[in-house]
């Protein structure tokens, strides 16, 4: 178990040693976002911009304009929220080579409450042209995603969490932007998942097996661009889809899958996520249960959708 933000800190510091064009920016949260690891190693290439996210985004765009590869970090709510228009105008519109790595996404921020729980950032970023949106499942995939983001030329939004999450991928797992991964094979339905919900889906698939239900788990690390090939294959081969994300069911992975399948291969679907409401204070595990973001909900939804198939 490792938090994706910890993996980010490590990966960024490692990359910094390989490529001196990489610079990092933070808005007074470097200890939490883990850019402090990079800052300690490369103080000249780290810019703490203070509590001023809009300016941080613009500064990163300027650094990119002179050939740097800026990674900017803050909590997801402030990156995608406070910085939306700057990300749109100064970063995505000119296709600036800026990497936005937002930590503390979703409800697992916990006790800080609804104001700090970013449940719509993926939808916001996905709606911006030119933007690539990545939500890693675990630490290993995060490392690959950060490496891929650095190598990719253009704007990228990577959404990470606060808490330690179970491992889904083995060490050395290769991440490719835009490619989904079938983590568990199956024939009766497919869980299409992202972020920490992939681990929950793996657990759910194991339990369903005992009941005689064969569930496929398709992990989507890149919400945009969506791996249409694997999603279509899942729809055609299993005939039932349950999406799951630690995010609003509006506009995130569930929305992306529904939009795509609605036009190509209308399929029985359920979307597990946060149903158009704000978060609330609580411990992160309590909140995951409260919002039904766990294997139990996935099992229920799987049973239901398989029964509807017949």
């Amino acid at each position: 178990m490792i938090a994706t933000r910890d993996a980010y800190g490590e990966a960024l510091a490692e990359l910094g040693g390989e490529n001196d064009k990489i610079v990092a920016l933070d808005a007074d949260l470097s200890g939490s976002t883990k850019t402090a690891v990079f800052a300690k190693k490369f103080p000249n290439r780290f810019f703490n911009m203070g509590i001023a996210e809009a300016n941080m985004v613009g500064t990163a765009a300027g650094l990119a304009a002179v050939g740097k590869i800026p990674f900017l970090s803050t909590f997801a709510i402030f990156a995608a929220g406070r910085g939306w228009e700057q990300i749109r105008q100064s970063v995505a519109y000119p296709k600036a080579n800026v990497k936005i790595v937002a930590t503390h996404g979703g409800v697992t921020v916990g006790e800080d409450g609804g104001s700090h729980q970013s449940v719509e950032d993926v939808a916001i970023m996905r709606a911006i042209p030119n933007m690539t949106v990545i939500v890693p499942a675990d630490g290993e995939e995060t490392k690959g995603a950060i490496r891929a983001a650095a190598a990719y030329k253009g704007p990228v939004y990577v959404r990470l969490g606060r808490n330690k999450v179970p491992s889904v991928f083995p060490a050395g797992h290769k991440f490719e932007i835009g490619k989904g991964v079938v983590v568990v094979p199956g024939t009766d339905l497919t869980f299409i998942t992202t972020g920490l919900m992939t681990a929950a889906a793996v657990t759910a698939a194991e339990k369903l097996k005992a009941e005689g239900i064969s569930a496929r788990v398709l992990h989507i690390g890149t919400v945009k661009p969506l791996d249409k090939e694997l999603v279509l294959q899942a729809a055609q081969e299993t005939g039932a889809i349950v999406t799951a994300e630690e995010h609003s069911v509006v506009g995130g992975l569930g929305g992306a899958v529904a939009e795509f399948l609605g036009e190509t291969c209308p399929t029985l679907m359920k979307r597990v996520g946060i149903h158009d409401r704000f978060g609330t204070s609580g411990k992160s595990d309590e909140l995951l249960k409260y919002f039904g973001l766990n294997a139990e909900t996935l099992i229920e939804e799987a049973r239901e959708i398989v029964s509807r198939k017949k």
Binding site: G50, A54, G58, T59, A61, G62, A65, V66, S90, P94
Partner: protein, 274 residues
């Protein structure tokens, strides 16, 4: 020097003519703020900045950010005059298929480094470029032209704070202070004065000038370059619509272009007979 100034004044006059003709042709765009900023843009492109129209991406160039992106015609006529693209392109301003969008677009226009137009974002990008250039040990300078109304955006002051904090002395902001914005007087819509005091309070080197006096503009740019340890703000008092009495000091000419009846008089004011 006197001769140089006279040359630049003549150049600015010709660029004003080009702005009026371009905006008359497009019948869409911003007249007042383009004419108020053009003397400074002219001094930068034809005197101060190192740049190479034959190689727009030349690494040794100084950078320019038109933060008040609606004054795009002022930038476009200067770029065309430099030879970044043919002058005929100006006649396609704001048209479908043209590389000259209503606001500067780095993806399409040779010589444009950053996209601007959403007010308040340019100084952040300019400071980002300044920080990056310094990191590489380069001597290149970054110039940003901002409007006074634009200073109402909070991000400008976030950027001002950061530029002073990081001692970006390769950064120079030029404030085109024409005193008018869409809804009227800047002082009445949302008073930003004193602009100079504000930048000074944020730790900037501040120079006040008449933004239509070419000698003062050049002297200020030289002083800015010589000043070490802090960024410089050149606060330039200007006249919206400067050079054409029909448009001067009229907020209504913020986003209005010369019509067929006004064109001959506007060109006459600018000493243009063709």
């Amino acid at each position: 020097m006197k001769e140089k100034i006279a040359d630049l004044e003549e150049k600015a006059r010709r660029l004003r003519v080009a702005i009026v003709k371009t905006l008359h042709k497009s019948q869409s765009g911003h007249t007042g703020g383009s004419l108020s900023a053009i003397d400074m843009v002219c001094a930068l492109y034809f005197h101060k900045m190192r740049h190479n129209p034959a190689d727009p991406a030349w690494e040794g160039r100084d950078r320019f950010v038109l933060s008040k992106g609606h004054a795009a015609p002022a930038l476009y006529v200067a770029l065309a005059e430099c030879g970044y693209f043919p002058a005929e392109d100006l006649m396609m301003l704001r048209r479908l298929g043209s590389h000259l969008q209503g606001h500067p677009d780095s993806k399409g226009t040779p010589g444009v480094d950053v996209c601007t137009g959403s007010l308040g974002q340019g100084l952040s990008m300019a400071n980002g470029m300044a920080l990056g250039l310094k990191l590489d040990g380069k001597e290149n300078r970054v110039y940003a032209v901002l409007g006074d109304g634009e200073l109402q955006e909070g991000q400008v002051w976030e950027a001002a704070m950061a530029a002073a904090h990081y001692k970006s002395d390769n950064l120079c902001a030029l404030i085109d202070s024409n005193g008018l914005q869409i809804d009227g007087d800047v002082s009445k819509v949302m008073n930003v004065s004193s602009i100079s005091d504000k930048f000074r309070a944020f730790g900037w080197n501040v120079i006040d000038i008449d933004g239509h006096d070419m000698g003062q503009i050049i002297a200020a740019l030289d002083q800015a370059e010589a000043h070490k340890g802090a960024p410089t703000a050149i606060v330039a008092k200007t006249v919206k619509g400067k050079g054409v009495h029909l448009f001067e000091n009229k907020a209504s000419y913020h986003g209005v272009t010369p019509n067929d009846d006004e064109l001959p008089e506007a060109l006459r004011c600018l000493g243009c007979c063709d």
